[in-house]
Symmetry: D2
Subunit: 462 residues, 4 copies
Amino acid sequence: MAGEIKIVESGVDHPEEACGIFGIMSPDQDVARLTYYGLYALQHRGQEGAGIAVSDGERIGVKKGMGLVSEVFPTPDCLPKQKASLALGHVRYSTSRSSSFANIQPLLFRYRHGCLAVAHNGNLLNGDELRQRLEADGSIFQTETDSELIAHLIARYGHDNLIASLKAALPYIHGAFCFAFMTDDILIGLRDPLGIRPLSIGRLGKGYILASETCAFDTVGAEFVRDLAPGEMVVIDKNGLHAEQVLPSVRTALCIFEFIYFTRPDSNFHKENVHLVRKALGRQLAKEHPVDADIVTGVPDSSLAAASGYAEEIGIPYEMALIKNRYIGRTFIKPIQDDREFRVGLKLNPVRKIIAGKKVVIVDDSIVRGTTSLRLVNMLRQAGAKEVHMRISSPPVIAPCFYGINTPSTDELIAAQKNVQEIKEMIGADSLAFLSRQGMLDCFNLPPEGFCLACFSGEYPI
Amino acid sequence: MAGEIKIVESGVDHPEEACGIFGIMSPDQDVARLTYYGLYALQHRGQEGAGIAVSDGERIGVKKGMGLVSEVFPTPDCLPKQKASLALGHVRYSTSRSSSFANIQPLLFRYRHGCLAVAHNGNLLNGDELRQRLEADGSIFQTETDSELIAHLIARYGHDNLIASLKAALPYIHGAFCFAFMTDDILIGLRDPLGIRPLSIGRLGKGYILASETCAFDTVGAEFVRDLAPGEMVVIDKNGLHAEQVLPSVRTALCIFEFIYFTRPDSNFHKENVHLVRKALGRQLAKEHPVDADIVTGVPDSSLAAASGYAEEIGIPYEMALIKNRYIGRTFIKPIQDDREFRVGLKLNPVRKIIAGKKVVIVDDSIVRGTTSLRLVNMLRQAGAKEVHMRISSPPVIAPCFYGINTPSTDELIAAQKNVQEIKEMIGADSLAFLSRQGMLDCFNLPPEGFCLACFSGEYPI
Amino acid sequence: MAGEIKIVESGVDHPEEACGIFGIMSPDQDVARLTYYGLYALQHRGQEGAGIAVSDGERIGVKKGMGLVSEVFPTPDCLPKQKASLALGHVRYSTSRSSSFANIQPLLFRYRHGCLAVAHNGNLLNGDELRQRLEADGSIFQTETDSELIAHLIARYGHDNLIASLKAALPYIHGAFCFAFMTDDILIGLRDPLGIRPLSIGRLGKGYILASETCAFDTVGAEFVRDLAPGEMVVIDKNGLHAEQVLPSVRTALCIFEFIYFTRPDSNFHKENVHLVRKALGRQLAKEHPVDADIVTGVPDSSLAAASGYAEEIGIPYEMALIKNRYIGRTFIKPIQDDREFRVGLKLNPVRKIIAGKKVVIVDDSIVRGTTSLRLVNMLRQAGAKEVHMRISSPPVIAPCFYGINTPSTDELIAAQKNVQEIKEMIGADSLAFLSRQGMLDCFNLPPEGFCLACFSGEYPI
Amino acid sequence: MAGEIKIVESGVDHPEEACGIFGIMSPDQDVARLTYYGLYALQHRGQEGAGIAVSDGERIGVKKGMGLVSEVFPTPDCLPKQKASLALGHVRYSTSRSSSFANIQPLLFRYRHGCLAVAHNGNLLNGDELRQRLEADGSIFQTETDSELIAHLIARYGHDNLIASLKAALPYIHGAFCFAFMTDDILIGLRDPLGIRPLSIGRLGKGYILASETCAFDTVGAEFVRDLAPGEMVVIDKNGLHAEQVLPSVRTALCIFEFIYFTRPDSNFHKENVHLVRKALGRQLAKEHPVDADIVTGVPDSSLAAASGYAEEIGIPYEMALIKNRYIGRTFIKPIQDDREFRVGLKLNPVRKIIAGKKVVIVDDSIVRGTTSLRLVNMLRQAGAKEVHMRISSPPVIAPCFYGINTPSTDELIAAQKNVQEIKEMIGADSLAFLSRQGMLDCFNLPPEGFCLACFSGEYPI
């Protein structure tokens, strides 16, 4: 009943995106509902907004809104009602710069060949340049998304039909991207030539699913088929799935941070399970940087696996010494300056009974600005830790990501400014050690050259 | 907190629009708040959605939502906070075909020359053709509004700057329109060459205001300056107001229905007060079609003025025999089939004590489908009226409007299908009479050729 | 989904109430839905909150909330679903002192004889005393309503069954009241011994309805049967309606302000139609206090009838010179100090074209504090009125109401502090006149001694 | 803006309650805000509703609503604004029987000695009897809460002042309870004579806090002082804290389930840390019931500590083989019959890569109905587990709880109906073992006779 107020601001550049995509074609299933469940499974990839577009073969409708899937679609009954065999859903990551209803995806466009819904995960490197070029040619923009850019390219530089138009548009875009497109009757998935962002294919009965992570297949009872190859396009229609290599791929450069931090531990990428990788990273970290301590603890939730691996390897107890409040959510993000001290305590609480008088190893997945590490060390000391040894299950982050993960600039990356000893002193730990790059790569069955390691090396694959 | 769910559907054509615009440039005032009050005054022109864009000289922000102004902006505190000297607001009329968040205005575009907010009142006649042509040239559409069309034209066919681009775009559009544009630092108003829809200029201190009706000036304490001339463009910036005749105007064709029905009685158009015109129409109607009766009553609220004029002229008492429930609003629009009988009774209640045993003249402003007239006559009879004489303060509507007022097709226009005697029988009145065209025109000080009378004559000015 | 925040404050005394009641027993009808429509018709009697209780014969459920009926029950589908033959609804008047969810009625109590829903319109004079006495006896209070008081009395001082308990409780209460009670299987209406507040009986098929105003009967298609007599109790159960004089009534003292201001013009009390009474008051006012003027106008909506009566009697045109914005509602009540000037202009707009250069008679129904009159006169002068003559269709209000209408104390009643000449000067009118008490009474077919005139005389019937 | 609809139903008995209380007296702090943060920390104890009452020394105001703390108070700015030195907050557990706004606490009463806010955690055994007795004496009830019962007792059977009245009321109540009371100027805490439910005292600067769990002290930066003794009342006013043994306590019977399941792992009760106890239970379980397996996993979140203890003791890897979706919340509780299969998959996802081909030990904290265990075993088998060994870190639950934890009746308690072998077969595990009662008790430093073990033994302390 009440009108929702949305703010759209102009002048925003470089929107970072790290989102979740779920698309399905299945004539025999309630595709809207399956997409709703699929988005639930991908919710950790984006909490700012969610949307679901469905096609009944003739028309496309889309429902979307700000907030969690459970807020946008308070019940499955809120989903589009029409009988549909195609659906495309998206969850969007919250960035401070472009929090706006207009950017919530899938975006729905009308162009010469009909209607087109677009969902995107990643970041185009030449987005600004493309935007300027399209503007010079008379294009108008209503959002700050790469989805709108690709739609313009398809509409302008393409011909005949969508597939041909898409192929004609592809040479213009550079960067890290997974796109999903939906028309009245087809679903298309596309992965960039380096395969930086993940996109996988699943099967459910006679239908096919595209999803950013395999955990979404598990949730809807679908079977994992394979990952899209870098540079591959798959077209799913009522006749099945057709794959084509539409962009030449000279190498793979899978984002290693998807394993280290971003992905749900029950997802697999390129046949590697994320939890097992994280635990192996913890074990390797213990081998490289053991310490004489009483307990090992991890920062919930992303570092628990590495911490338990570290504890097992080193043979001292793994304890849950930092408890996360499960009810601190998206709604609490708004910063209130003088409440900052409470907010930390609200989110994480150290367990004094476990910590007091102990030599504690605290395992975290990465150090970005260093401010969190400083707070963690302080928190443990105030809870009575005799010693605090910080162990990081990845190498130092020395370069920003331009491929869809929201990282600060080099100025703010602590490891780009200080060496390990200096960081240790800044955060006040008794010792600090990072996993070596080689040690990290040894934890995978994948070839080392298959990863994008730009954030650790500053060597960008594009 | 909760995500609002919006539906955008593709495949929608011909959106009718009859909306309200309020734009202001005033460096010394709280322009967002004044726009909020201005939209309150124009609320009767559109209840589906509302929006306000403001510019602080560098950036444009917009807040909008579905519902009444009071729902979209529950308090003035909900308005954009930044210090601004330019604002543009819009209220949108509810049409069943395109009820969607995406269509709520002002729309905000980014194009080669920066940001552009657009608000529209009217209807482009060649909208479909333009859309197809633009699509063929590679344009994409996210809404069904004419505002998006004009933005495309400005971005594509224009050059140098906004003013030049707008002038280049104008030859492509045909129809009834008032547009308001806002950039970072200027506000532009534009009226179609026939002046079908109204747009007036007001002054507040050193600032200027554009509004669809003069009642908005009264509400914010501004002074009426003049109406825009047909085909005129006014550009308001920090140096003041600059007017230019950008489209040649061979004649004026002001929509006479704005006087008869749509406008607030305290607004003036072309120096005519709407209430006084309506009362004069009632007096003229009494001269043309007197009747021997006991009381005169009007259909609230739009026909009360005509009814009191009729009563005065004929010398019998004017009574409020039909009481309108002031609390039946937009939220009650959704039709529930089996509740239809209650809904009529909920909205209007006949006062038996006034009506019973009386010969009643009921004055209404127009007859469109005839169904409302039938219900009114029945209602009065059930309340005990001895005779029911219906008098209409305008001529029979025999042709649909293509210029921004939502009327049914010729098939459904009762006066296009039946003569007065047949309509009288259909609605069950004891007598029925319409005001003559000449009689209607005599009630104005304006020249008769200055109106669009297409709905009464079928002769369209474009 | 979101939790509504409610505030309950202790320490509140003397809540004034002027509310609407709708109760129905009808085994064959959808009583919840009829109650919903009935409350719509009574919405003008209270906009703070609404509630509907239904009984299926075994259990009572209640739904209620803050706001208009349309907000509390956005659609009829929001109503209780269970098959019920009994329902009781209430709309509550907004007073600044006790705006709280807890006070929204009907209140639902569990006591020795089962469940009891209570709705009230009026004000108990000995509420504080009763509350203290009950507190001294160990009662606890969760609301500030008289409904909770009567429930305590019934539970405490009563015996055997509800009817007997109610009769035992009645001697303890004094004041102006209409109560409706609902148990699992009966509906009870009760009117105070002076009949100060209205309550009427209607019939719908085999069922019966109790409502505060007859317009609610019209809305649901029911037939008016009769008003409850002062001191009468009616019990409605599956066997029909049983009436009993439970409180001795020596005289009637119907609140004359219900006619002058509060009631909907299409309602009747004691066989008098409110609109016709108001028009007669205007005619009488013209007879007593004619004036040489050009136009007559009324303050919308309550004074329009009196103004048209005045105009007819005196033979000059009745014009709608003050236009009310229909979209200024409950949500705009919150005062923002520096917006006060706009708020007046937002709500009422004077029509300069009608007023300028004219001698204007402005008719209002009453003067309480005088501040509104001052603003009205100023508004007309600023719109160019040559003279402003204020005429009031009731005598001066010199004493506060203790019987359920929210009036200020004697200090703030302008007519208790100043004579007519002084008031005229304060409000800046060219002339001011009030209707005489005798003149007012002559406009009714009811005997003069049948009214409560306390606000005009200071002589209170209790 | 919109009215929230609430349903109150009569005829509800035995409301189970397992809630969280946070009360504070501190003249120097923003007590409303601290209470808000304290309730965040206690959110796991109740998600149905939340409320905060504050006193400024003269008046008490309360804000409350359905939903999470973050929903009822979307920002700290939503809290009561007045300067206050006393606050009392409550989070309420969701039970299907009495989901209603009316039951959200703190309840605010007015009685002979002024205003009284009451919050309760626990369950009165003689609630029905008291209710009947009070009803027979003429009391009325508006909620189904024990808080309303105690308020009646205080108001009725008490005298002089609140403390005296409370003492007079106490002999009438039996059961498991912690009450907190707040008047204009004092805060009172009370724990039942057996100390079944927890309540602790904290200190913040010069102020005092009462909270259900110590994690709330950590969150607001307060210091733990001590637990209330069974039967103890503490009165906190501006002079400090005054303790008194108001109910004789012959023994302690602390609910052991608070340790096993309900409490946050970072809370301490009677100086025992919950996480450490749980880990010790897991170690003891491994000693009693070792198994030859490949991995140990726990059911998130409550059994992770026990699982890691089991894994460490037995020397095989602890893995997170079941991943919980962090975004499945309260809003998803509503059961949709045909979606049940998805809901399980939505909430927990087994990690096939970890499980497939392995002998898995799954540790859970308890078995109630057995249905969850059945699903867990199935889930592991479908994920490829070669063997599934279920280990329960508490003894079989054979008797329902009447002291405030929501358990099913004996009929539905699987361990009351079947022996271990039968349960093993029902749930389809390869082996099943429960921790022994003695083993469980050995994990505590507290004396064994200090616990309520009724759910394991059927021997109730009251």
